[in-house]
């Protein structure tokens, strides 16, 4: 190949741009993109460690460390599962929820200019096409 598809190339370029913005939003609060993902995931879930590892696509041992650091910062709590004595559920603390909400808002602000030049119709079309890509 070597001549990459125009559209695929655009997807890669846009993805790097988006990741840079997400990293910037995370860095403003001194955490990593991965910690940002953890916060986002825990906003509407209280998964077991193994489930969280699956969501993130990481090894369980890596997630242990991530959660250790988030707990140390007071953003996340561990609690024992009653159904299975081996497993542990993780969830946001009140402060974690607050921060997750704030960062989500900041991400939206940072990203808004990306689609700022598009008309309502173009936005709708782009949204639909992205949904197809994700299908």
């Amino acid at each position: 190949m070597t001549e990459p598809d125009e559209v695929l190339d655009g997807l890669v370029q846009v993805s790097f741009r988006v990741m840079a913005l997400l990293s910037q939003a995370a860095a403003a609060h001194e955490f990593s993109l991965t910690q940002l993902r953890v916060l986002a995931i825990l906003r509407d879930r209280t998964p077991k460690m193994a489930e969280l590892a699956d969501h993130l696509g990481l090894d369980r041992s890596s997630v242990s460390g991530l959660i250790d650091r988030a707990v140390r910062r007071g953003l996340v709590q561990r609690e024992a599962s009653r159904d299975d004595g081996r497993s542990v559920r993780v969830g946001l603390t009140a402060e974690g929820h607050r921060l997750a909400g704030q960062v989500t808002a900041e991400v939206a602000s940072l990203m808004a200019p990306l689609t700022g030049d598009l008309s309502a119709a173009e936005r709708k079309r782009l949204g639909a096409l992205l949904a197809r890509v994700l299908a």
Copy 2:
């Protein structure tokens, strides 16, 4: 906020998908996403260290380490600049070029399914919209 724009949400989701595919392509050759970026950048440039750091958005000291490891793997070479005795140019070795080409092809293959369900017209439209986003 808290209710993120549909389109922005799509961009974030697609970006994570793309990054996962790129990471997968890189991991198949046992290197990181950053090393993949280095290879891609050096495919058509022979920058000085400081220029490479700018492209990557990283500190020079971080790039020193990245290049050290790539040199150790025989993919990249350093050479002194003749115009400025302080600066160093970096470029791919023959093996680095070979590998960069191969990985680029593998990335294209991995990503192809993303747009596999789109018609030619839809692809064209998506490409145009992504170009607007990048503008």
